[in-house]
Symmetry: C2
Subunit: 325 residues, 2 copies
C-alpha cells in the first residue's frame, strides 16, 4: 500500500523507539561496557527522547560465567540501579530474557522491587511454550512484556501465523518482527508487517521491528515497517550490534518527525562514545561477509567467526558459503 505523504511529516504518537545498544551491542564486546559509558548512554536516551532503553540480558549465572562477561549479560536490578538510580525520567527500562537461558522464576523479581519496566522475551519458534510461561510469569510480577520470535526468515508463514496466534493471546503489549539474519528486503518486510499487524491488531497488540544490517537495509527495513503500522522500533547507536549491527539510532531519530526526538544528542553520543569504541578495535558493522550470509539467509555465526579471525578473503568465504570450493 502506498504510504501517505502525511506520514512523512506527521507525528504518530504510538511510535516507541527502543535503544538496544547495551544488549545487541553487548554481543560484540561480551557486554564489557564501562559504567561511564552506560551512564552516558542512559543520559543520552533521556535527552534524545528515546522511549525505552534495553539494559542487557538477564542471563542465568549458572549457565554463564560472570568472569567471562561484562555486567550487561546479567543486568541485575542492583547493577541497573547503580547507573540509573531511581530513574525518575520518562525513559522506560527493559531487559531481554532468552527462553532457556534465563532462570526467570528466581532472577526476575517483582516489579515493585525492580527499576525495570519491560521484560522482552526472546524465543525461537520451537521454544514457544517456554516463552508463553515466561511472559505470564513476568506479567504476574507486574511488568510490561513483549516477545521477539527470532529467525523467522527460515520459518514457514503458516508456522509463524500459528505462533502469532498463540503469543498474541498472552499479556504481551507487542510482538516483534526479528530479521535475525539480515536477509529481508523492504518489500518482504512490508508483507510480513502486514501479516503480523493483521493478527496482532485482532488481539489489541502492537508490532515491533528489530532489523539487522547485513545488506545495509536495517534502517530501510525499519522505516518501511513504520509505514506499515509497526510501532516499536529497535535501534542502536552507530548500529552497534551482532555482526553487521542494527538500525542506527542517529538515522532513525532523524527520520522520525516527533519533536520529542532530538537527533543532536544521538550524533553527540556517537562522536563521544561510539567512535572511540571503534578506535579501540571493537569491530561491528556492514561488511561483505555479512552481505554473504544475509544474501544466503544463513545465521551470521560463520561471518562473525570470519571477522574474529581477521580474515579478509571475502571471495573465498562467499565460495565456502555456497559450497563451491
Amino acid at each position: 500500500m502506498k504510504k501517505e505523504i502525511s506520514k512523512l511529516l506527521e507525528v504518530r504518537e504510538s511510535v516507541r523507539v527502543v535503544d538496544a545498544t547495551l544488549r545487541d551491542g553487548g554481543l560484540v564486546n561480551d557486554f564489557y561496557f564501562t559504567d561511564e559509558f552506560a551512564k552516558a548512554l542512559y543520559l543520552t536516551n533521556v535527552k534524545a527522547g528515546v522511549d525505552y532503553m534495553e539494559m542487557g540480558y538477564r542471563a542465568d549465572k549458572e549457565q554463564f560465567d560472570e568472569n567471562s562477561f561484562g555486567p550487561w549479560k546479567f543486568s541485575s536490578d542492583e547493577y541497573i540501579r547503580k547507573i540509573v538510580g531511581d530513574n525518575n525520567t520518562d525513559l522506560k527500562l527493559a531487559i531481554m530474557a532468552d527462553v532457556g537461558r534465563c532462570n526467570y522464576k528466581e532472577d526476575i523479581h517483582p516489579k515493585a522491587e525492580s527499576p525495570v519496566d519491560l521484560i522482552r522475551v526472546a524465543t525461537y519458534l520451537h521454544q514457544l511454550p517456554g516463552a508463553v510461561q515466561m511472559i505470564e510469569d513476568a506479567y504476574k510480577k507486574g511488568y510490561e512484556t513483549t516477545c521477539n520470535i527470532m529467525a523467522i526468515s527460515t520459518a514457514s508463514m503458516e508456522d509463524i501465523k500459528s505462533a502469532l496466534d498463540i503469543v498474541c493471546q498472552t499479556p504481551i503489549s507487542c510482538i516483534y518482527i526479528v530479521d535475525s539474519y539480515g536477509s529481508l528486503y523492504p518489500e518482504q518486510t512490508e508483507r510480513i508487517a502486514d501479516m503480523y499487524y493483521e493478527i496482532a491488531s485482532k488481539y489489541g497488540k502492537k508490532v515491533g521491528m528489530h532489523a539487522h544490517d547485513n545488506q545495509k537495509l536495517a534502517f530501510a527495513n525499519t522505516i518501511e515497517a513504520v509505514g506499515d503500522n509497526v510501532d516499536f522500533l529497535d535501534a542502536t547507536y552507530c548500529s552497534m550490534g551482532r555482526g553487521a549491527g542494527n538500525c542506527a539510532m542517529e538515522l532513525l531519530l532523524g527520520f522520525l518527525k516527533n519533536p520529542k526526538y532530538k537527533e543532536r544528542y544521538a550524533i553527540k553520543f556517537v562522536e563521544d562514545y561510539m567512535l572511540p569504541l571503534k578506535e579501540q578495535g571493537v569491530v561491528w558493522g556492514y561488511d561483505m561477509q555479512y552481505l554473504t550470509t544475509g544474501l544466503l539467509n544463513q545465521h551470521p555465526r560463520t561471518a562473525i567467526q570470519f571477522t574474529k579471525e581477521g580474515r579478509k578473503d571475502y571471495f573465498a568465504f562467499y565460495q565456502e558459503m555456497l559450497n563451491l570450493d
Copy 2:
C-alpha cells in the same frame, strides 16, 4: 502499490545495471585510477554481467587542467581504447557529459570513430536547453543517450514535470532520477518513480535511478525503484562515489535474480581492488557528516570539506549546518 511477490524471484529483462565506479568514484580521487585498476574493473563488469560501464566524464580540457586530474576526467576515445581494445563484449560503454563542462561539438566524435555506446548527459534544471542540444548532437552522431537531471530534491514537482516533458521529447532512451543530496526516503522514491514513469512511458522512455548513501539508503532506494518500473540502475563497487557514495554493486547484483548477473565477481573485485584503495587512504562512504547534509537536504560539499579536513567533530558540524551555533 504493493510489489508483487513474483518480482523478487523473476527476471525482468528490461533491467540494466550501470557501473559508475570510474565516474562517480573518480570524484573521490580526482580520477587517478591506474590502468590496471580500470582494466580489472572492465573485465569484472564483463564477467559479472553488468550492462554498461561508465568510463568517466568527458570534461573540457580548456576548463580543466589535465595535470590536476587522472585520465577518467576526460575519458578520451584513445584512452578508453587503451583499456578495452575494441570491446568485443556484451558490455556497453558510457561516458558522462556535463552541460557547460563538455565541449561536445569538438570532443564527442561520431560513434563510428568511438568505442563509446552511450552518452549520459547530466544537467541541472536551469540548464535544460543546453542538455537538449547535447542530447540531439550525440544522437545525430550515432550514440544512445540518457539524461540525468540533478538535485531534484530541492526542485518543485511542477518544474520537474515540465522538464521531463521537454527532455522526453528528445531522442533519449532513459531519464534518471538523481538523488544528488542523498535525502530521499524509499517512500519518496516510490512517488517520484511513479511520476517519472508516468511521463517517461508516455514517450516510450525508460526511467533510471542514481542514488547516494548519505542516509545509508542508496541500495534501499535503488531496489525500491526496481519495484516501481525503474530499469536503469546505477551502482559502484564498494559504493565508491562522491561523499557518502552510491548504491553498492555487490549489494545490487545479489538482489537481482537474473542469472546473468554474477555476484561472485563483484565480491572478488571489491576484495582485490576496492579495499586496497581504502587502505591507501582514499576516503568515501556513509558517515555522520553525510547523514547531516542528507537529512537537511543540502548539497554535500560542506560534508566533503569536513571529510577532507579530517574533522571528527560531527556534533559541531551538525550544529553549524543547523546554524545553531
